[in-house]
Each structure stands twice: as C-alpha cells, then as structure tokens.
C-alpha cells in the first residue's frame, strides 16, 4: 500500500482531510439511542410553559450586582431535569436558528425516533440552551428561536404532529454543565419526554389520538 503512495497521493490527501475535519462533525447518533433515552418515561410533570417562558425572560433581565455568576445560578426549570432527555449537539449558524447541513442527519434521526413505534404515545418538549457568553437576555431569545426551529423542521419537513411537540428556550438559565458555563456542552438541544397519551396503549377505544402522525388518505377505503 505505502509503496504506491505516489499514485494514491491525491486520494490520501483527501482522506486525511476527511479525518482532520471529523471532530467538527457532530456525533453520529442513532435512532436506537434516542428511543432508548426517551422511552424511559414514568410520570408526567405539571408543566406550565407560558409561565416558564416568562420566568426565564424575567430572570435574564436582572442586572443586579448581587446576581450570582452563571455557574452559581439555580436552574430555572429543575422539574425538567428528572425527565427522560436526549441531549444533542445541533450546529447552528452563529446567532441564528439556521441548522447547519452537518446536523441535518441528527435532526432526521430525531424524526425517525419520534415515528418509531415505542415513542408514538409520547409528546416532547424541545429545549434550547445557549452557553453563558454575551448578552443573557439575547441568549434566551436565541435559544427559543432555535428550539422553535427544530420543532418547525420536525413538524414541516418530517410531518411529526405538532400536537406532540412543544418548545422552550432557556438561554443560559439552566446550564447543562454548570462547571463550564461557556463550553459547547451548554449549547445543546434537549429533547425531553413530557407526556404520554391517555393510558390505553393495550386496549385502544376510539378517542382523540395526539400521536396521529398524518392525515388520512382521501381515497375510499376498500372493504
């Protein structure tokens, strides 16, 4: 192999470029990983999203001298921390909710997991986080826009029912790793299982199905 290095040189250069650029490529996630994390659901928390959004916004506006540094702030939504969550490193264009192509596959895998049988009964909260850099208030807004963007892609591009998707941005008010407030680990998107459709998974009587993934065919059914 090595002796033919001259003839293979261009290929080798290209291959080494791929290797070098690999760390920038987000982790390869599988549908199975996501399903495993998100199906560990036990009981639904009482969530008041409008209140949480307002609280987050208000806290991010505090300009007091006695305000603790990012790593010492209490999480704004501790009730979310005990729920089944899948944390994923989605790459966005800087300061925008635009997902970079290198993260398309990851978003697609999330959609695959949501369609998978085991997760059909559940509804999810998409949580945006931004690391503790720059303006605290803008970080809340940016994280909300990013969470909304993921929700929109799942709903519009992959037709996951909007009834199963909610989104909230917590800015830097709930650091995923408080020991490193400015690290990329704090810029992840979290998918959290927040509710299960009425407990009739075994015997399904006719009732509204929040998990209905799409519209029925306009065609007539055969008998």
């Amino acid at each position: 192999m090595r002796r033919t290095a001259t003839s293979l040189l261009p290929g080798l250069i290209a291959a080494s470029l791929v290797v070098v650029s690999a760390p920038a490529w987000p982790q390869d996630i599988t549908r199975e990983d996501i399903v495993r994390q998100l199906s560990r659901f036990e009981s639904a928390p009482t969530l008041d999203l409008p209140a949480l959004k307002q609280q987050t916004q208000e806290r991010s506006k505090i300009r007091s001298r006695t305000e603790p540094p990012p790593q010492k702030r209490a999480p704004i939504a501790p009730e979310l921390m005990t729920l089944p969550a899948f944390n994923v490193d989605i790459q966005f264009d800087q300061d925008t909710p635009i997902v970079r192509p290198e993260s398309y596959q990851a978003v697609g895998r999330i959609a695959d997991a949501m369609v998978y049988s085991d997760l059909l009964p559940y509804t999810f909260l998409i949580v945006g986080h931004v690391e503790a850099n720059g303006n605290r208030e803008s970080n809340v807004i940016l994280s909300q826009r990013r969470a909304d963007a993921i929700r929109d892609i799942l709903a519009n591009t992959f037709k996951i029912s909007v009834k199963r998707l909610q989104s909230v941005g917590l800015g830097e008010e709930q650091l995923l790793d408080p020991s490193k407030p400015t690290a990329p680990v704090n810029q992840q998107i979290q998918i959290i299982t927040v509710a299960k459709a009425a407990e009739e998974a075994a015997a399904p009587p006719p009732a509204p199905a929040p998990a209905a993934p799409g519209k029925q065919a306009p065609r007539k059914h055969r008998n």
Partner: protein
C-alpha cells in the same frame, strides 16, 4: 493520480445509501444525503434557509447554475425520499385496514394507536407488514 480519485469515488458511492431500493429510506439517511451532497452548496447559496423541504428545494433549484453536479443529481431524490417515507404512514391505514379493525380493534382514522398491536399481532398480512416497515414504525 486518476486511480486515487476513482478509489475515493467508489468509497464515497458505497457510503451513500442506495436510492434505488424499493424500501423507503429513513429520515436521518435522507437528510444526511442532502447534507453530504449539497452541504457546501447550501452554505454558499442558501444561507438563512433552514431544512425546510419547500424552501430549501426552492433555493437549490433557483441556484441550478451554480450548484454542484453532485448536489443537482441528488437533492431532488433525497427530498422525494422524505416524502415517500411520510406517505408510507398513510399507506398503512389502507394496507392494514383489516388488521387495524379486526385484529387490533382500532380505527384507520387513528392508525398510530394500532401500531404496537400491528407489530405483535398474529395474522398480519405481508402487505401490511411491509407498509408498517416502510413507514418507519419498526
């Protein structure tokens, strides 16, 4: 020189999931295919456009003249693969009508509720089995 490129191209081609299969492709694979064949084109020409089937497809076709050959050859099929996978969920209601109603006591208006049952019930037709698989429920 040329041989190296050919080897590389073959390696790339093998890594790309086949579009010719009758089975549908997962959303992750389709989206990954858009990224791997059009990522640079999207970054260069479609900044500010998110992974939205309509808008991204529209942007890429509007930029036909400058978009790479690899992207042009792929993106339409990749978006189509996503649509196929979505359409497959509707197909389940038709292909599994008997199973949903008779075996699972469900309704074809709420197909997703009957999916766990369709996966475990005995006597599910091959056509229904295939539809369930193509929709990505399994």
């Amino acid at each position: 020189m040329v041989r190296g490129y050919i080897l590389l191209l073959v390696a790339v081609a093998l890594g790309v999931p086949s579009l010719a299969m009758a089975q549908t492709m997962s959303f992750g694979d389709s989206a990954g295919l858009i990224a791997s064949s059009c990522g640079a084109d999207i970054t260069a020409n479609c900044r500010g456009v998110n992974l939205d089937s309509n808008r991204l497809k529209e942007c890429l076709s509007r930029n036909q003249d400058v978009v790479s050959a690899q992207c042009k050859a792929t993106y339409f099929k990749a978006f189509e693969a996503i649509q196929k996978r979505i359409a497959a969920r509707v197909t389940v209601a038709n292909a599994c009508q008997r199973e949903i109603v008779k075996l699972c006591g469900g309704s074809t208006k709420e197909t997703s509720r009957s999916i766990p049952c369709l996966l475990t019930a005995n006597g599910v037709s091959a056509r229904c089995q295939q539809a369930v698989g193509e929709a990505g429920y399994r």
